[in-house]
Structure formats: structure tokens, C-alpha cells
Amino acid sequence: MIKLTINGQPQTFEGDAEMPLLWYLRDEKDMTGTKFGCGMALCGACTVHIDGRPARSCMTPMRSVDGASISTIEAAEEDRIGAAVQAAWIEEQAPQCGYCQSGQVMSAIALLKEKPSPTDEDIDAAMSGNICRCAAYPRIRQAIHRAAREIK
């Protein structure tokens, strides 16, 4: 049996341990904020935090998260930095289709937790794993800078 916490709630899982965390969240827990984009950790739409670190849930088998603490987009607003990132995203009117944005927001939160005042280079390094086909990148960049100012 795999034990983990999701957004602070203890969970147990007894199914296929090879199933990626993404499908556990989406299909078993009905937490559909985390998105399926590529299935190969190439696009970042499925980004969640595992023990505080950003991770691509589409390539994270359940067996590897035994004992782990997972946080997802559904709990982002409960976090001070998460709420600041979401507010900045709205303020900058960043999303277009919005499908990649859960992953973008989760990657940005992880960046700001590590580097509260990121440079453009820091943003490039932390966010280049998250594809946005609408190419909302200029607004995502501005939103990260805005959130950084807000959390000071």
C-alpha cells in the first residue's frame, strides 16, 4: 500500500504502482486542475510539487511517491506565494486558452520559493520546461516579476 499526502490530506493507494501520479490525481481523485499535455515530461502541463520540489506528474509513478507530500494547483491559493502568483497572473492577464497554466503557476511558485527575486535568466531556467502554445510568455514573465515584488 502506498501512503502519501495530497494538499495535506493523507491518502492511500493500492492500485497499479506504475500508474503515473498525474492519472491518480485526475482520474482517481478527480483533481483535474493538473493537466495532461504530453505524457513524457516535455511540456510541464502536469507540474505539481513533490516534497516542495516541482515535478512532472505524468512521468512520476505512484511507487515513487510512497511517503511523499504532494501539492497541486487546487491548493495553491492556500499558500502565500501561491496566492501572490495567482493574483499576479490575473493582474497581468497572462492566460489565454489556460490549459498549461496550472503547470506554469506551479513552476512559478517553486521558483519564487527558491529565488524570491528571480532574474530573467532565473525565469528562463525555471520555466523553460513549461510550454505554452498560446505563447503567453511575455505576460508570464511579467507576472513572475510582479509576484516577486508582492511577496517582498
Partner: protein, 742 residues
Amino acid sequence: MSIKHSLTESSEGFRLNRRQFLGGLGALTLAVGFGGRIAVAAEGSLQAGEFVPNAFIRIDKDGFVTVISSYLEMGQGTFTGLATLAAEELDITPEQLKVVGSPADAEKYMNPVLAAGGFKVQGTGGSTAMAGAWTTMRKAAASARAMLLQAAANTWKVPVTELQVKDGIVSHTSGKQGSYGEFIDSASALPLPADDQISLKDKSTYTRVGKADGMMRVDIPDKVNGKAIFTQDIKLPGMLVAVIAHPPRKFAKVASVDKTAAMKIPGVEAVLAIPGDNIIQGGVAVLAKNTWIAKKGRDALTITWDESTGSREDSEALFTEYKKLAATRGLEVGNKGQQVEEAPDGGKVIEAVFELPYLAHSPMEPMNALVEITDDGAHLWNGEQWHTADQAAMAKELGLAPEKVTVTQLYAGGSFGRRACPMSDYIIEATRIAKIAKQNGVTGPVKLVWMREEDVGGLFYRPMTVHNNRIVLNADGSVASWRWRVVGQSFFPTPEDQVDSGLMEGTHELPYAIDNMLVEQHLYQGDIPVSWLRSVGHTHTALVGEVLIDEIAAFSGKDPYQYRRALLAEHPRFLKVLDLVAEKANWNSPLPQGKNGERRARGIAIRESFGTVVAQVAEVTVRADNTYKVDKVYCAVDCGQVINPVNIASQVEGGVGFGMSFLRQQITLKGGVVQQTNFNNYPALRINEAPAVETFMVDSSNPPTGIGEPGVPPTVPAVLNAISAITGKFIRRMPLGAHVQA
């Protein structure tokens, strides 16, 4: 040309021939003044306790307004544009409204711009939403307001002229006031104002339209917290997820399938052979309780394919074939003046053959659709760009009348035209799977989920093309004559004597003052189906046209901006946009040079598409190792009346980024097999490569024109022109890749 009578909306669904359809699209720019009636009844009505004056507005007893969008929200901001128009005419606040997608209904929700072009469907395409809604939504909201004010006047027994509205509150000079909600009962009994009696606000009184803070995007709050619902997110009781194995060699058929291993996986409910045809690939679908199990089951199949019907298409061979065709006379698309055979003394002949690849749309949400077959009909959940076309295609697949198929409209996680497939491919595939499942006793709604690999390999690409140009220049650098031949495929089965404007748009309509111009078309009847990709024909014709204008200007050493100015002297709208971008980009002052070993330059391009004129200046750095970076793109836009300036800027920024992806993308085939599979080999622009973008809008009082697509076409040529200014070499083949030619 009158194309109104040429509609063929039959019981088996409409299948316009391509001329009728494309003729419709070609008429877009003429149709923006469409004055469609929005009334669907003689009077307002009360439905479920709400005032329903028309098909677009509902108002409840609290005065809360539901705006009904006949268009898909796929990221282009249409929901917000509609909300802006409704809030403006109703004088309500953003907090007093929401926007919902409409059901599919060709009568109530016909796209007025497409309809004016003779294509009577509900659809979201051709960047037409705001051009159409500019009339329909404003009238819908204004007539609701007029009826509510009349109801208030009747209730209070005061002249309606003494009433005013602010933030959804009606007030009278006497001090009486009440919310819209208080008058919905009596308004419902009033006659609808005659269409020509509906008075719309004057521009000078706008408080929201055209204002940066007029309306924040209505869809964004739920897109930052994971609550926005896409097709991928829908889960119904008893629903099965279908993951399909498509034939690797396109249009091969299933010879046999060993499903033993798949059926042993707990949760796999069915393994079904799905016959393909010339529209859908078909293959073998695995239906399971969740997506992962379905995929695992799919991956456990052993399929033997009958490749006798499989495609043998090979893109390199196709380019060779196209180039051969391009060397011969084609169908005349446009011809003015006389072609000049030889260059005059001191002149030059430019022979330029461009090779441009197939491109996939690859939106972030791979194609999917959820189909439920009921006892007397069927229901579709989808991010639906081609509402009534898909409805008809699904009905045909099931042998039903179109009205027996109902549609729930959801957000689409991008589309870029993929969800407007002219042949409804993925909808038919989902429907066929659900139908065959039912025939095999597997009941319950079926959600087809394409993995990224099925999406990239899912055909209906932007057509690959070869453009063969012969330009004769006079000694002074002016164009003596230009012959432009395009070879490519049509989106529809097309007789060879018909012009395909989806392929040819932006060639013969070139605005430049060139007296002698001949444009020819060759249609290739290939195996690989093609469709429109965001900005359609302009994705390739703008590249070729604008790169060649720079090459022409270079011959006589003329400045590319000034050269364009001279050729656009008769087009004040173009000049305004061109001058604006040049001014904002400081075109006339030198570009600061880069670090050691870096070379920098600007490139410029301009294009009208979907009624909108966009010019861009790209600032590009070529590094010592011949990699390059697009540092910044300045954009100037004339899209008529600005509705949401922030959204327009956002769409143009996105258009630039979408275009920049073309620098690296190509779909290639070998022996009928698509070589690309996922974002590793079909790359998309990432943030570290994304330029800064600044957008400037021309102040205009003309009716609004498109904005979802027009940002795309100038980007690639502006970037290529900057690179050529650095390297002195003109680029003829896409994708460019990561390096420039030294």
C-alpha cells in the same frame, strides 16, 4: 459573385464544396458590416424565472446577466469581448455577468460573418467572432436594456426618457431606483423593439469598449486555479476512456489484433477494431475505466496491419514532385499586365523557389471528445470550434437527424484550427468508437483521448507548399514583372480548375503597386489530409511575399521599410500601420550592436489578414556560433474599433510566439509514416526563446476585424528578413532550425 444560393445544408450534414466554402471565407472583409437581426421571437419571454429577450442575453431576478456565446473560447478572448459589448450596452459591471457557451444551433447561433459569405453555420473561425458580435451582441444587449427601461417606466408611470442606468440600477429623476431584476417580469411581456429601432451607444460615451480597464478577461480567474473545465476534465458516471492505436503507416487497416495481454489488465473493458476511412485513421481502441489503464491496454496490443491501403507518402519525394509541378504553368489565379521575359539592362531576374513543410497544430490539450449515445439521440461534450458542422458529422455517423445530436460547449485548451477540422475527423472517430462499443454491448459515455503522439501524428496539417517565383527587376530596382506559382493541397476535394483561396490567399491580393503580376496554382491530390492552421494561407504566403519584397529592395540597396512605403502609397491604412511600427521600433536609428561576435539587425514585414493589418519589426541577434535569438518584436495593428486593448496585445504577442515556433517545426513523412511524435521532435517555442513583444494599436472607428490570427503572418518574414540583413543570404526553406547559414 453571389454565393448565398449555393448552400448545401442537407440532412446528411453539410458538405459544401470547397469553392462555396472558400468563397465564403474570401468574402469576410466585405461582410463586417453585416446587420443581422438578433430577434428570435416577437416578444421577450420568461424562461425558468429569467428574462430572455433573445438568444444571447438572459437576466435573472437579481439583475444578474448571462451572456450566451455562440463562439468557442479557445484562448482568443472572445468570451471577454462579448462580455464587454454586453456590459457596455446594458451599463452593468463585470461582477453582474457571466458568459456561457451556447448549444449547437445553426439557426439561432449562425456565425453572421460566415453566413454573409454564404456559409450558414455556427462556427468559430476566420477571426470572425467580434466582427459578427459587434452587431449582434450590441443589439441583443441594447434591446434588452430598452425593454427593461420601458418596463421600469411603465411600473413607475414615468416617461422612459427620464430614466438612466448605472451599474445595473435603473433610476428616475424623482429618486426612484431599482435593479434590472425587478423589471424582468413586466419586460417579458413587452414587444421586442424593431431591429431598426434598437439604438446603440455612441463611441464617445463608451466606458468599457476600447478601455484598458474596461473588462478583465472573464475566463482567467478559473484558469489560474485549475477550475476551468476542458473536455479532458469531464468525467461522467459509467464513462469509459478510449485510447486508440492508429496505423503507423497512415490509412493502413487492421489485419488482426491480439488483445490477450490488454484484456488481462484490470480495468480494461473492451478492445475494439475501429474501421478507418478516408477521413479517420481508425485502428484499435482500448476502452477502460481510466486513462492510464486505457493507454496501458493500448500499448499492450499486438496489431498486424494490412498496409495495402496504406499511404506511401514521402515528404522529400513530395518536394521533388512539387518542384517539378512548380516549373510548369498552373491554373491562373490572378493576372494583370504583362510578364517580362528578360531583365532590362542593369536589371536582374530573381528565381526563388521556397519549400515549406507540413505543420501540426499541436495545441496543449490533445484532441479529445466525449460522446454519449442515448436511446433517441446523442450528446457531445467538446471544445467545439465547428459547432454545427461537427453536430451534422456526428449525426451522419449515427444515422440521426442533426437536431438529435446535442452539444455541450466547453473551453478548448488551444486549437489553432485543429478543432475546426473541415472533415470533423476526431469527432467522427470518437462517435464511431462509441457506436461500435454499444454494438458490442459496452454501454456508457465514451471519452476518446488522443495521447500526444496521436495528436502530432493526427494529420489535417497545414499543407506543405512549394512557391516558385520569377521576378524581373528594372535597373532602378522597380519590379518589371512578378510570377508567383504555388503548389499545395486543398482542404477539400477540389477540381483542378478551381482556385483554392485557403491555399492562395495573400498572393494575388498583394497590396503592393506592382503592375505586372501573374499568380498560378497547382493542386496536388495527396493522401495526407490538410486543414487550416491559425492564419491559414498567410502562414506561407506572407513568408514568401515579404521575404521577396526584402530581396527586391536589396537589389537596389533600398531600405526595406521605405521600399514598402513607396509600393503602398495608394493604401493609407497600410501606411499608417507601417509608419507606426517603424516609429515605435526606431527603424531609422541604428540598432545597438551586441557583444563581441554578435551581429544584430532588424527585419520588417506587413500583412493584411482577416480584415486586420499588422506590421512587425523583429530585432534579431546572430551569435558567433550562428545560433540566433529574436530579442524583441514591435507590432502595429489596425483591427478597426478596439474592443479590449489588453486582449488584442495578448493575441498579437501570442501570434508572434506561434509564428516563431514555425522556425523549428516540420512534419515529415517517410513511406506514409509521420516522423514526429511529441514535443521533443515537434518543438514549440519556450519562454527562454520568446522575445519581448510590444503592440501598438491604430485608433479606428471602423467596425472591428479579426485579431486571433492576424498577429501570426508577419512574424516569420520579419525574423527571416532580419537574419538575411545580417548574413546577406536569403532563406528559401523552412524550418530554419537552430542555426543560420553563415
